[in-house]
Subunit: 256 residues, 2 copies
C-alpha cells in the first residue's frame, strides 16, 4: 500500500524516485502530467492541497515535500540506509538537502521555467490559460506562472539565478575534493538531492559541468549513474521528454 505520485524523472520527482528505487521498496507509480496541469486537477488537490508533486501515500496517509518524503522512506522501510548513521554526518547531509531546497533548486527552477513555459502555455488561449491559473492552490505558484508566461523574467533576475547555480556547482565540486560523496564516505540523500538537480547538466550545460573545470563532480556524476536505483529512476516513463528537451536547449545560454 505505497503510492507515489510524480512527474517525469527530473528535479523533485526524480529526487523521490531515486530514493524509493535505491531503498528497493515496491510501490505503485502514478504519473502526473505537469504539462497538462494535472497537479491542479481536483482529484490531485484532494491528495495534496498544495497541488505539487511528488506526493507519497502510505497506508492512506499522505506525505508531501520530496526532501521529507525521502527521509520518511529511509525511516519507515527496511533496505539499504540512505542516511549516515553518525549524527554529525547526518546533519551534514541535511545541510546539503536544505541547501538544494532553498538555493540550488529554486535558482535552477526559475531558469528552467523561463525557458520551458512557452512550450506548455503557447497551445492555450488567454482564457484557457487564466482558467488553468485560477485552479492553482498556492498564490506564490500563481504569481510564478503569470510572471513567467506574460512578461518573462528580467535579465538581472536570470543572471542572479545563473550565478546561484554556478555557486552551487562550485560548492559541490569543493566538497567532492574532500570526500567521495557529498555527506562523507558514503552515498546518502545529499547525493540524491544534488543529483536530481544536476543530472542533465553535463549534457545541457557542459560549460558549467565538464572534466576540466569540475573533474570531481563529473566522477561523482558517473558514480551516481552506475547505481541501480538511479538507473531505475531515470528509466521511469517520460512522456514529456520532447517538450523538456526543447526548453532545455535554450538553458545553456542562460547558464554561461
Amino acid at each position: 500500500m505505497l503510492d507515489l505520485y510524480h512527474a517525469e524523472p527530473a528535479a523533485n520527482s526524480l529526487k523521490s524516485l531515486i530514493a524509493i528505487k535505491e531503498k528497493g521498496v515496491a510501490f505503485a507509480s502514478h504519473f502526473v502530467n505537469l504539462h497538462e496541469f494535472e497537479q491542479h486537477e481536483p482529484w490531485f488537490v484532494q491528495i495534496n492541497p498544495n497541488g505539487q508533486v511528488p506526493a507519497l501515500v502510505h497506508e492512506g496517509r499522505v506525505l508531501t515535500e520530496s526532501t521529507v518524503i525521502n527521509e520518511y522512506l529511509d525511516e519507515a522501510f527496511a533496505g539499504p540506509a540512505l542516511r549516515p548513521a553518525d549524527p554529525y554526518l547526518r546533519a551534514r547531509m541535511r545541510i546539503w538537502t536544505k541547501f538544494v531546497d532553498e538555493y540550488f533548486c529554486p535558482a535552477l527552477s526559475f531558469i528552467a521555467w523561463h525557458h520551458m513555459i512557452h512550450n506548455i502555455t503557447d497551445k492555450l488561449t488567454p482564457s484557457q490559460f487564466e482558467a488553468k491559473i485560477a485552479r492553482i492552490p498556492l498564490k506564490e505558484q500563481q504569481d510564478k506562472w503569470r510572471t513567467a508566461a506574460r512578461q518573462g523574467y528580467s535579465r538581472e533576475q536570470l543572471e542572479n539565478w545563473g550565478r546561484q547555480v554556478r555557486t552551487s556547482i562550485e560548492r559541490m565540486e569543493r566538497q567532492l575534493r574532500e570526500t567521495p560523496w557529498l555527506a562523507g564516505g558514503e552515498f546518502s540523500l545529499a547525493d540524491v538531492s544534488c543529483f536530481a538537480m544536476a543530472a542533465e547538466m553535463p549534457r545541457m550545460s557542459p560549460n558549467l559541468m565538464n572534466a576540466t573545470d569540475t573533474p570531481r563532480l563529473m566522477k561523482w556524476h558517473a558514480a551516481m549513474h552506475e547505481r541501480a536505483g538511479v538507473q531505475a529512476a531515470l528509466a521511469m516513463p517520460n512522456p514529456v521528454r520532447a517538450t523538456m528537451e526543447a526548453g532545455r536547449s535554450g538553458m545553456g545560454n542562460t547558464l554561461s
Copy 2:
C-alpha cells in the same frame, strides 16, 4: 565540549536555544551581537563561513542551520525526545520545520528587517556602513542589507510578506484545531520552530494573534510558555532588547 553561538533569544537563535534547553544538555553560551555585526567578524567567519548564527560546535565539529542543529541535538544527546518516534508524525514535524524555514521565517524576517535596520545602521557613516557590508560572506545577505538600508522595501513587497505571515498563522491555528501540538499529540521541534517565530506576536501584533481570532494558537502559546526549556531559553541574556523593541513597535502597522 558543546558550544552554542547565538544572538538574543529571538527567531533562529531562539529556535536552537529552546531545543538545547528542552533537551537539558549542558553547553557554553557565546553571545554574538548582530547589532554590532559580530557575525561577520573574522573570528566568527572562521567558525561559520556564511557568517550566520546560530552555530553549534560539538567536540570540535561545527554545525550550522538552526533546523539541522535541532535535529542533531535530538539525535546526538540523551534526554527527552524532541521528535515523534513514529516516522509519519516525524515527517509531519519536518513539513512544519521546513515551512517555517522557507515561508514563515523569511516573510517575518524581511518585515522585521525593514523596521529595525535603521536602529542598527543610523549610527554608522556611509563609509562605515560599506565597510561592514563588504565583510558579509553571502552575496544574498549583502543585497538584503543594502536594499533595506538604502531604499527600503516597496509597499507591495511588505504587503506580500504580511500576507504570508497571516497565512502562516492561519495554518497553525487550523492544525491546532486538530491536534494539541503542531505535529500531533506531543510537543516536538515543529512547535519549537513555530514558537521561535511567533513568540512575540500576541504582544506585538495582537491584531493577528488574539483570543478571538486564534484561540487555539493562544492556548498553544501559553502551553509553550509553561515549559521549563522555553522559559530558560527566553531568559537568556538579551543586551539588545531595547533596540529590538524600538524596531518591533513599528511592525504592528505592517502586520495588519
